[in-house]
Structures are given as structure tokens and as C-alpha cells.
Symmetry: C2
Subunit: 273 residues, 2 copies
């Protein structure tokens, strides 16, 4: 007899390690769910790559997760969410969660002056999905300003989370947004929560930072409840990790991103999917 | 009747755009040679990826070039040269040029105090190929100090070639090497020549920078002459470019790296090779 669908794991993929900040929020909110995470570190980063390359990679990642019998897929990467959500959603045949909508809704709720900044990779910014999603959540006019911050992913992966030079780079990126008088700033990349101390310092006390981790976990919980897919186990969930590059490196860096040890990690050849 | 072998193009590959600094030196030295360049921007960068991922990618890149009937392959990437030279060389069946040896020899000739610094990606540094190659060129003892500079590739691709913050980052990376009293510094990554102004400023006037572009072009010329493969045409060489990501992006950034327009560029699906 096959396992009931609600006992199956939640599948999560990202270009590499950034999505672990989303997984962390999901694990906190839904401690009894099993999860399978795939980080495409062998082909990371996605942020500066073209829409069709990101779509092709995302479909391969989703096929790998489907083969693991997941009950849901979380695209824990803003670039992949902005470029490939429709393609993954249409091909998956099960609930697919993206990370743009929750951040956009949180920003719409947070703003007072309707001047909102969005920072992300070049791919996410070029896709224009955040301005469109934020406008859908707000009645009436709003001013939305975007800034691509390509160095932030390298700084996050390098562990330079609170260096003075990271602060200087944040100042350079944020200056054009601050000049526009934004009161809310969306961290539109799953790597950026690691830099939130420096980003908050550069943005100053009048700007609210939107980290979509908790709102995304909320959507995941709602979707599981609505579809009857929530795991009714009382045991702690099991967490398994796959990467397209070195397992050792994934374990070391991943444990820092997740703030707890990555124990079970395996390598796969994603190009076969 | 098939084309004489010496009329065939020289094949060059890199993880993305950095190898164009090598191609530029080869074009200057050998203006009558046709070239085919493949930049694996869809899977770039290679510098932080594991040895076997870099080897797998490099073998695919070489297979693509072999299909184009090249007469020689230049691995215009330090990470790929350090990780995959033997594998590519054994499988290619034609002359394969790597970029570590020429830089190591130039460093051995340049040093006076036998204290040499090497900067590169994490992959190149971990491979220890530079210290081994430099020691082979020097009789007697030598002190070789390495430093991985993972942010330099992003800064080069971002076009932040002479920003104050790039100088600050260079200071952070170079400080441990300068404390050791090096008199020579190898730019052990084909992206770094773009940052040479800032790196030279951070290193100070007493340190000689080694950019292996011209020495690599010299080895290419010698090898072609020795093997009778030099193109005796008097016409300017033709240069064709392939990328595994967006052609538009390759043309825009590539023209900046090469300092002349990239005209004929095409996209390929490298995972098929």
C-alpha cells in the first residue's frame, strides 16, 4: 500500500544556498513536515542568466523533485520564481509556491507613503514581476523603484555579512532608492536576509525591510491545509538535501545559512533531468 | 577536398567572459588566425565549484570545440586549467594550451626576492597548481603565498573596474600577501586583468603584477610553429563566439572585455555535448 499523499515531503529548490533562508522559515512554521531541498550550486547563480536558461534549469529541478514524490514544490528563488513560475506550475500537476507574491503583499501592507523599493538580482529586476505584483495589492497609485544588486549574492556566499565594505556596497546600491523617499524595501532575493543587518543600517531607521520568509511559510501552511495535504505526524520532520556540486561545500555553507547542521546531503547530476 | 589543418580555427573556452582577455592577447599576437570562442556563461562562474563539476563542464566545452574542427584548444580559464587540463588534454587528440604555466614562468622570471603572491578563484587556489608550477621554474627555495579573491569575478563582470569599493576589497584581499613582503603578484584568473589598475594601486609600486595574456599568446604561437599548424593567410582572422546563455548579454559585456565589437555570436545548448 502506498504512502498517503499528506505524508510525502515538501520539495524546495533554489539556484544554490539562498533558498535555505526560506526553508528555515518553513521548518519553523511547519515542524512536522518532511522536506527535500535541491540547491543547483553546480550552475549557480541564476540572477544574471537569461530567462530561458533559468526556465530550463527550473524545469529540470522540478522534474528531479517530482521524481522524489513530493506533494508540493516551493520555488525558493526570486529569479526562478520571476522567470519560471508559469512553466513549472503548468508542468508539475501539484501545488507550486513562488516567493514573489508573499513579499509583494507584505510590502503593500507595510508602506505608509506608497513609495516602495525593491532590490534583487538583475533577472528579477528585469522581469518587472515585483512592481506588477505590488500594484495588484494596492488600490490607487504607488511609486515602485527597483535596483539590481548583483554583488550581494557573492557577498552572502562569501560570508561577508557584516563587513564595512559590504555596508559601503549597500550604500551605493540603496542611494538611488533612498533619494526617492521610499519607506519600505523588499529583500527580493533569498540570499539577502543574510545581509539584512548591513542593509538595514544602510537604509536607515525610517525604512521597513520586508523579508518574505515568514509570509512564504504562511502561504505554504495555508495551501497544505486547504488541499488536505498537511502532515498530521507528531514527529519532527526529516530534512534531506541534494546539490549539483560538492556535498562537503554544501554542508559547510548550508549549515551557516540554515543556522543548524545539514546532515543528510547527496549529490545528483541535474543535467540528466 | 577538405581544408588544410593549418587553416582551421583555434578553439578557446572559458567559464564565461574572462577568457576574452586571453583571446585579445592571442588576436594581437596572431592576427591571421581564425578563432572560435565558447563562453559557458549559462553555468558560470567555475571558481567556487568542485573539481569534478569543473572537469565535467570542461570536457563538454572541449567536445563542442572539437566538433567545430579546431586545430588547437586554449583553456582560457585558470580554474578549468587547474582542474581539467589533464582530462581535456588526454581526450582531445590535438594540442591543448593551459594558462597556469605561462603565468608561473613569468612570475619566476620577475621575482627578485623569491616571495611571490598568487591571487585566483577558490578552485585555483585549492588546486595548489600555481605553487607547484612556480617551484618547478625556480631553482632553490621560494616562498609562495596564495589568496582566493571570490568577489573579483563579480566586480569584473559588474563593470566596477575602478570604483573605490573595488579598491577597498583589493586591499582586504592583498593585505596578508603584502605583509609577507611579496615582490611579484600573479593575476591567476583571466578576469583579473580588467581590475589591474585597482590591484596595482592596492599592491603598491614595489610589487610587479604578472598578467599572463602575452606569455600565453607566445606559447600559442610557438606551439603552432612547432607543429606546422600556423595559418599562412595574409587576411585578418575571423572570430566567432558561442555562449551557453543570452547572446545579447554576451555581445554587450564581451565587447567591453575584448575592447572591440563582438559581431558573430551564437547560442548553444552545451549540456548536449
Amino acid at each position: 500500500m502506498s504512502e498517503p499523499v499528506n505524508k510525502r515531503p515538501i520539495g524546495v529548490f533554489d539556484s544554490g544556498l539562498g533558498g535555505l533562508t526560506v526553508l528555515k522559515a518553513v521548518m519553523a512554521r511547519l515542524p512536522h513536515e518532511d522536506t527535500i531541498y535541491f540547491g543547483d550550486s553546480g550552475r549557480a547563480p541564476y540572477g544574471s542568466k537569461s530567462a530561458d536558461t533559468v526556465t530550463k534549469f527550473s524545469l529540470q529541478n522540478a522534474r528531479f523533485l517530482l521524481e522524489q514524490q513530493v506533494k508540493m514544490i516551493i520555488i525558493a528563488c526570486n529569479t526562478a520564481s520571476s522567470r519560471a513560475f508559469d512553466a513549472v506550475s503548468q508542468s508539475a500537476g501539484l501545488p507550486v509556491i513562488e516567493v514573489i507574491g508573499p513579499g509583494a503583499r507584505a510590502a503593500a501592507q507595510a508602506t505608509r507613503n506608497r513609495r516602495i523599493g525593491v532590490i534583487g538580482t538583475r533577472g528579477t529586476v528585469d522581469s518587472q514581476v515585483y512592481p506588477a505584483a505590488i500594484r495588484r495589492c494596492l488600490d490607487g497609485p504607488a511609486d515602485i523603484y527597483q535596483q539590481a544588486c548583483p554583488l550581494f549574492v557573492s557577498l552572502a556566499e562569501e560570508g561577508w555579512w557584516d563587513r564595512p565594505v559590504t555596508y559601503d556596497i549597500a550604500r551605493i546600491y540603496l542611494e538611488p532608492l533612498l533619494e526617492r523617499g521610499i519607506d519600505t524595501l523588499v529583500l527580493g532575493c533569498t540570499h539577502y536576509p543574510l545581509l539584512s543587518g548591513v542593509i538595514a543600517a544602510a537604509a536607515g531607521p525610517d525604512v521597513r525591510l520586508v523579508n518574505a520568509g515568514a509570509p512564504i511559510a504562511g502561504i505554504v501552511a495555508q495551501t497544505l491545509e486547504r488541499t488536505g495535504l498537511i502532515n498530521d505526524s507528531r514527529l519532527p520532520g526529516k530534512h534531506v538535501y541534494f546539490t549539483s556540486d560538492s556535498v562537503e561545500q554544501f554542508k559547510t555553507l548550508g549549515s551557516a545559512f540554515l543556522d543548524e547542521p545539514v546532515e543528510q546531503a547527496y549529490r545528483i547530476d541535474i543535467e540528466r533531468y
